[in-house]
């Protein structure tokens, strides 16, 4: 179904001059961005700057008004149109609300795509679910309903759902929103661990600077719909770009 040669080390992302408006209000204004295969990019920015809108364009949930997004040199619209069995790589998203289906158990949520697309036999699916839940430290929760889980557990179950289909690109929309510092650290460590073990490309949208510092290979600062600064995780905190300085100052990092 998917070619290992195509996707080893994740999926590359090219965002070219992407514009998106809602009711005449421009949210994205010509965003340009490149993410290398296997990279963990953190898109950072204040509330309402268009971070979530940008990753919804990257995964193809919404279409830009102008511009183009390519995943491994394949236009995202073209990728979405391909039937599942012809997709050369897999893409998943962890939503801010976790977006677990409330009517399904944790195991059913994690195995949903595998079952719906008949990607594996029943025993194999059961094994995959067990493995994925173990990777996110949720062993023994298979039969629980999402409403019985804490916020942090729901986030981890959503990450397990992304792992179950062996995603080559995982997008995280505010993965630590509404979590306490300890759980934030846990989710950060999990994102790091996924990259070390599986090497997918990961794009994380957050305004949590400590988390960004912990997990990012690269950090992009999105201000007023534009990427204004882009550098490695380490460089970002010493960047001399005036908007980055202003953001770091507001976050009391400098």
């Amino acid at each position: 179904m998917k070619s290992a040669a195509n996707t080893r080390g994740g999926v590359s992302i090219e965002v070219r001059d992407v514009w998106k408006s809602y009711d005449g209000h421009a949210v994205l204004r010509g965003v340009r961005l490149d993410v290398a295969k296997g990279d963990t990019l953190v898109i950072i920015g204040g509330s309402g700057e268009g971070k979530s809108v940008l990753i919804r364009q990257i995964i193809g949930l919404e279409h830009p008004d102008r511009g183009e997004i390519r995943l491994n040199d394949l236009a995202v619209e073209e990728y979405r149109r391909l039937p599942i069995e012809e997709k050369p790589f897999r893409v998943s998203m962890v939503f801010q609300s976790s977006a677990l289906l409330n009517s399904l158990t944790v195991a059913e949520n994690v195995s949903l795509a595998l079952r719906e697309h008949r990607m594996a036999a029943r025993d194999e699916i059961r094994r995959t679910v067990r493995d994925c839940l173990a990777q996110v430290d949720l062993e023994g929760t298979e039969g629980k309903m999402p409403s019985e889980l804490s916020g942090g557990m729901r986030k981890r179950a959503a990450i397990a759902r992304a792992l179950a289909v062996d995603s080559d690109l995982i997008l995280y929309d505010e993965p630590t929103a509404e979590l306490d510092p300890l759980l934030t650290e846990e989710v950060g460590a999990l994102i790091r661990r996924i990259q070390e073990r599986r090497h997918p490309t990961q794009v994380v949208v957050t305004h949590n600077l400590p988390l960004a510092g912990e997990i990012a290979d690269h950090i992009a600062l999105l201000r007023r719909g534009e990427i204004v600064d882009y550098c490695t995780g380490r460089e970002f905190f010493h960047s001399q770009h005036p908007q980055t300085r202003e953001f770091l100052r507001a976050a009391r990092v400098v």
Binding site: R56, L61, V91, F95, S97, A99, L100, L101, L112, A113
Partner: protein
């Protein structure tokens, strides 16, 4: 100047005419969405065997949600009809009570009341469930997994409701007639016997009357499920939006049931003119 032009472009026009225009556009948009969803759902019915489990789950849910209330309402409707009609007919003949209750239940009250009950109980639940899924990004999550919401969510609910409603109509017919017979048996003001009541019913009730009722159930089931799914899928704006969608789905279902009822009655009278057996 540029700001004023931008403001004029984005600010909706005010006044009664503009409000009527907006309402008409909304109405057309909802009708268009329902028609598109209906076509897509019917198209995806070919994958029903793959989703048998989901269809059965929905059928069970509709059954458990409506069985008791449908029985209770039908029983009392049948009883009330006999009490009212018996009083009106006291100076003429009460021998027609059987046909009166039977025809009213099978052709009109059974389908319409069951349609209303399913719209109120199951339609509202469908709209609220899908609406919550929409605002909680669960539907977006399905799309990221290449799971299309129409075959996954709408089609099983559509088939289950469309199958459940005619069954409930039959159940309602039987319970309603039984309710009427119960009053005939125990009300001292009624001068006919239960066997006279049932004989009169058998004499006047045609097979086509029952079929017309079942067809109504089938159509109402389609309407209720498609309207509920369409309003669920167009939900925006958090829990307030879910409440709005749920209410709208029920109101639209009620109105569409009455309109469809009128159309089916007209067509049925053209196809099967009312004559005694």
């Amino acid at each position: 100047m540029a700001e004023a032009m931008e403001s004029a472009r984005t600010t909706p026009p005010r006044g009664a005419a503009a409000a009527v225009g907006r309402a008409a556009l909304d109405l057309l948009q909802i009708l268009g969405e329902c028609a598109r969803l209906f076509a897509a759902t019917v198209w995806h019915c070919r994958s029903a065997p793959r989703h048998l489990g989901k269809i059965l789950t929905q059928l069970t849910r509709i059954g458990t949600e409506t069985f008791a209330i449908a029985g209770l309402v039908s029983l009392f409707v049948g009883m009330v009809m006999v009490v009212q009609a018996a009083d009106q007919l006291a100076n003429y003949t009460q021998e027609v009570l059987g046909s009166l209750v039977g025809l009213a239940m099978t052709k009109e009250l059974g389908p319409v009341i069951m349609g209303f009950i399913v719209a109120g109980k199951s339609g509202s639940a469908i709209a609220a469930e899908i609406g919550s899924m929409k605002v909680n990004d669960e539907i977006a999550a399905l799309r990221t997994m290449d799971i299309e919401p129409i075959p996954f969510l709408a089609m099983p609910r559509f088939l289950a409701t469309t199958l459940a409603l005619p069954t409930l109509v039959l159940y309602s017919d039987v319970i309603g007639i039984a309710g009427g017979a119960l009053v005939v048996a125990f009300d001292p003001t009624i001068s006919i016997t239960v066997s006279q009541f049932l004989d009169n019913l058998r004499e006047w009730l045609n097979f086509t009357d029952i079929v017309v009722g079942l067809v109504k159930g089938l159509v109402f089931g389609m309407l209720v499920s498609i309207i509920a799914c369409a309003f669920g899928l167009r939900t925006t704006g958090g829990s307030e939006g879910v409440a709005r969608s749920t209410t709208s789905a029920v109101v639209w279902s009620f109105v569409s049931i009455i309109i469809a009822d009128f159309i089916i009655v007209r067509v049925a009278f053209l196809l099967f003119p009312a004559t005694p057996k």
